[in-house]
């Protein structure tokens, strides 16, 4: 008679499979990243990309400049912005117990857009650091302000998941209207900037901006992983989680603020890129389940892969032209979003 292996051994095998899937996502990201760098108007074969990354002097000067000063920041920005939005979306969806929650659907992205638009129209220049810093700072102020407002309003009436999402929807429409108002009164130059910025684009990527996003991710990822067990327990039911001694309200506030920071820094440097915060976590859940030790890094990786792939598509859609990446993610994201909504309706 064959004795069934202990559950712990079965589960260890199950976990190993998830680790392999996580590694697979990582490999997919590396491939997508390299292809993104190799894709563009100037011919830069994959072999040269790898050689140039390992040793800049291995390439002719012009190609070196294209690789290191144009393509690499663009591709790296896609990876970091995708990771930040993916992680933010996963955390928001878990604490709000709502698979449709994301920086975009909670209005955080549009609050950041509003902040940036104000900076553009008023030609703000924070402490003489230039317009880019002012736009980024103003976008962050908008996102953080919206999150704090949602949280304060929710607390005043009891912070249930439904009220938070309802306030998020209200924020979405409010800031959308305010951005339209600013567009209405803006002069031609400012209007062009705002419209370009609201489309979402990686074209303004610089190493300085990438460093800021990387630093925010380096701060947030360990904090997210520290909360992984609590978030996993929360997926098993809020009352259960409370009975395990998890301070659910405090966890919800901390996670929402962390997700807002991630979303704000992404939106501040790349504009309003939608659907990554929605689709990334769904891919991660599909592949890795809801043990947040895997779901959280998986969502960041999936978000990065999707935005990196969108970046490639944005260069290939119209020959000789880079379509703003926000348009690409919206075109791909809307059918996915509809599929998710319909999937929710069919769920038992």
């Amino acid at each position: 008679m064959v004795t069934a292996p202990p559950l712990a051994r079965l589960y260890a095998r199950f976990v190993r499979l998830r680790v392999l899937l996580l590694v697979g996502l990582g490999l997919a990201l590396v491939v997508s990243f390299l292809v993104d760098i190799a894709t563009g108007p100037a011919a830069l074969p994959l072999r040269d990309v790898v050689a140039g990354l390992l040793d800049r002097s291995a390439l002719p000067r012009a190609q070196g400049v294209i690789l290191w000063d144009v393509r690499l920041p663009y591709a790296a920005m896609a990876v970091f912005v995708g990771a930040a939005l993916g992680l933010a979306g996963a955390e928001m969806q878990t604490v709000l117990n709502n698979p449709l929650a994301s920086p975009m659907t909670l209005g955080v992205s549009f609050a950041a857009t509003f902040g940036a638009s104000v900076a553009i129209v008023l030609e703000l220049d924070l402490f003489g650091l230039g317009a880019n810093v002012a736009i980024a700072g103003s976008a962050f102020a908008g996102a953080a302000g919206a999150t704090l407002l949602i949280y304060a309003l929710s607390r005043s009436v009891g912070a249930t998941k439904d009220t938070v999402v309802l306030f998020g929807i209200a924020m979405f429409f409010t800031f959308n209207a305010l951005v339209s108002l600013i567009q209405f009164v803006a002069n031609t130059d400012a209007l062009q900037q705002i419209v370009f910025w609201t489309m979402g684009s990686l074209a303004r990527a610089t190493w300085g901006k990438i460093a800021v996003i990387a630093a925010v991710l380096a701060l947030c990822v360990p904090l997210s992983l520290r909360d992984a067990w609590a978030l996993t327990a929360l997926r098993g039911g809020e009352e259960q989680a409370r009975s395990f001694g998890i301070p659910v309200e405090r966890l919800r506030l901390t996670v929402l603020l962390r997700a807002s920071l991630l979303a704000a820094v992404a939106v501040a440097f790349a504009g309003a890129i939608g659907f990554i915060g929605l689709v990334g976590p769904h891919i991660a859940r599909l592949l890795l389940g809801e043990d947040h030790r895997f779901t959280l890094p998986g969502s960041a990786l999936a978000g990065a892969v999707v935005l990196s792939a969108a970046s490639i598509a944005s260069k290939l859609l119209v020959p000789g032209l880079i379509v703003p990446i926000g348009i690409v993610t919206a075109l791909v994201g809307i059918p996915l979003f509809m599929a998710l909504v319909l999937g929710q309706r069919r769920a038992p």
């Binding site: 069934a4 202990p6 559950l7 712990a8 079965l10 589960y11 199950f14 117990n97 698979p99 067990w229 609590a230 996993t232 327990a233 997926r235 098993g236 039911g237 009352e239 259960q240 989680a241 409370r242 009975s243 395990f244 001694g245 998890i246 859940r285 389940g289 809801e290 043990d291 769920a347 038992p348």
Partner: protein, 266 residues
């Protein structure tokens, strides 16, 4: 120190509305199964939540001589296990990690494998260990919730309608398992239940709640009688004994609204 659970003037409310008022319960000894019964909105779930620390309560809830409200949160969590009435449906957590998370959230990174193996065996859940909760029936999810509550081997188990989604066989299996665990660990199990006959058969004591008050408490054959049925549930009924000696409730008719019964509107 008196071992066991007792309530002293416990009141619980939601905002300004008082749901339970001045509950007094003499010490329930370790190893007991206690059914908390009563009509809809009597406060059964609220009482369990208050004991679990999920609802603020006034008065004293004493376990093994210690007031639970005065106890540090991390200690209370280790002593009290709670199974809510409703468990989420749309999650892709697998059963094993749901139970593992219950343990990790309370104990941190301590050893978990042996305890989880044991509780899955005890509840006959081994085949469901790697199945997603979202793909399970309501009864199976309830069993996993029970495993989450049992895996920490708490001193006090609070189970809110633990058999409501189970078929007859599983109802008896769960209650027998809870009894075996209570006997082994000398723990106390409080079960909010709607099925009077199951409660009278499986539990050592019953606590009858009605209109936010404790109507009566004691061994089933003493606590349950036609007068209690009329006052708590608003029915005319009898309490008889089956061939195996268990008390069973036979309901004859609902007391018309014009007659005084004491039952609240459902």
């Amino acid at each position: 120190m008196t071992r066991g659970l007792s309530l002293h003037g416990v009141s619980v409310g939601y905002g300004r509305r008082t749901v339970l008022s001045g509950l007094e319960l003499e010490t329930v000894p370790p190893g007991s199964l206690v059914a908390v019964i009563g009509p809809n909105a009597a406060g059964k779930s609220t009482l369990l939540k208050a004991i679990a620390g999920l609802r603020p309560a006034s008065g004293r809830i004493v376990l093994d001589g210690e007031d639970l409200a005065a106890m540090a949160a991390h200690r209370r969590v280790r002593l009290v296990g709670y199974l809510p009435q409703v468990l989420p449906q749309g999650t892709s957590l697998v059963a094993y990690e749901a139970v593992l998370a219950a343990l990790r959230a309370v104990r941190g990174d301590g050893p978990a494998e042996v305890a989880i193996d044991a509780v899955f065996d005890q509840l006959g859940l081994r085949d469901l260990a790697l199945r997603r909760l979202g793909e399970m029936s309501g009864g199976q999810r309830q069993m996993v919730g029970l495993a989450q509550a049992l895996v920490r081997r708490p001193r006090l188990l609070l189970l809110d309608e633990p058999t409501s989604a189970l078929d007859l066989r599983w109802q008896l299996t769960v209650l027998e398992t809870v009894r075996a665990i209570a006997a082994r660990d000398r723990s106390i199990a409080l079960l909010a239940m709607h099925d009077l006959n199951l409660a009278l058969r499986a539990c050592d004591r019953v606590v009858v709640l009605a209109h936010g008050r404790l109507l009566t408490a004691g061994p089933p054959e003493q606590a349950m009688n036609p007068d209690v049925l009329r006052r708590a549930y608003g029915i005319e009924g009898r309490v008889e004994r089956c061939s195996q000696g268990f008390p069973i409730v036979l309901s004859d008719r609902a007391v018309p609204r014009s007659e005084p019964s004491g039952s609240a509107t459902p």
